[in-house]
Symmetry: C2
Subunit: 133 residues, 2 copies
């Protein structure tokens, strides 16, 4: 299977597959006599695994750990769960941060008339009071 084929089947762009190979996330694909990479069904399954994990927001480093766990038949599911829980917490932190921003921005937006006049509470708030802090 050429890289373009496995890219289409896995949803991972060819460019990204080469990148994953270069950082060691996936093993180096075997080569045909003409130098082209040659992928098989195992590679496809690995790339789909990666694609799913990335889609859930796992960092590439975490995906590497998940792949190792996946291949390790003597793994403890607690290790997988711990990794996923850490990820869940990091998602929650990001959501909380965005929520704080969202409320602040929305508050500003609501106070701004949004017409042809220059007066704007958004800019006034951003400017703040020079003698305040």
């Amino acid at each position: 299977m050429n890289i373009g084929t496995i890219a289409a089947k896995s949803g991972v762009p060819a460019k990204t597959i080469r990148y994953y190979e270069s950082i060691g996330l996936i093993p180096s694909a075997s080569r045909r006599p003409n130098g082209y990479r040659d992928f098989d069904r195992d590679d496809l399954q690995t790339l789909r695994f990666i694609q799913h994990a990335r889609g859930l927001g796992f960092a590439v480093k975490d995906v590497a750990d998940l792949l190792a766990l996946w291949r390790e038949k003597k793994r403890a599911s607690s290790d997988v769960k711990a990794l996923a829980l850490r990820h869940l917490e990091s998602i929650d932190r990001k959501i909380a941060e965005l929520g704080t921003m969202r409320r602040a921005v929305e508050h500003l937006v609501h106070r701004c008339h949004g017409d042809h006049r220059p007066e704007c509470p958004i800019l006034e708030d951003l400017a703040g009071d020079l003698d305040r802090a």
Copy 2:
């Protein structure tokens, strides 16, 4: 005012201030005979403005636009509001995306026993069914 002083007063690290100067977000600071940058109260106000806007999640490019609007006395507040609304929408998109991830990850976490055994629904789900798609 030396860069370290304005860094402390604005909350923007000295390193970042030099970077902002290099990309033209702030004007080039004047220099003392010894080559040190010399900042004044206007610079401090500008950096505080930037710091607030960045804290609300505005991209540096957007901050540049906000700064231009701030300095433009003949601005229309509708331009400021439009920019803020676009930002609000981008925040909402990110929150929605993270929310989707959160639900999926949480679902997996709940189904995983998390003990010494290797069976793990998280890995099974990530692996998917090779003959499915």
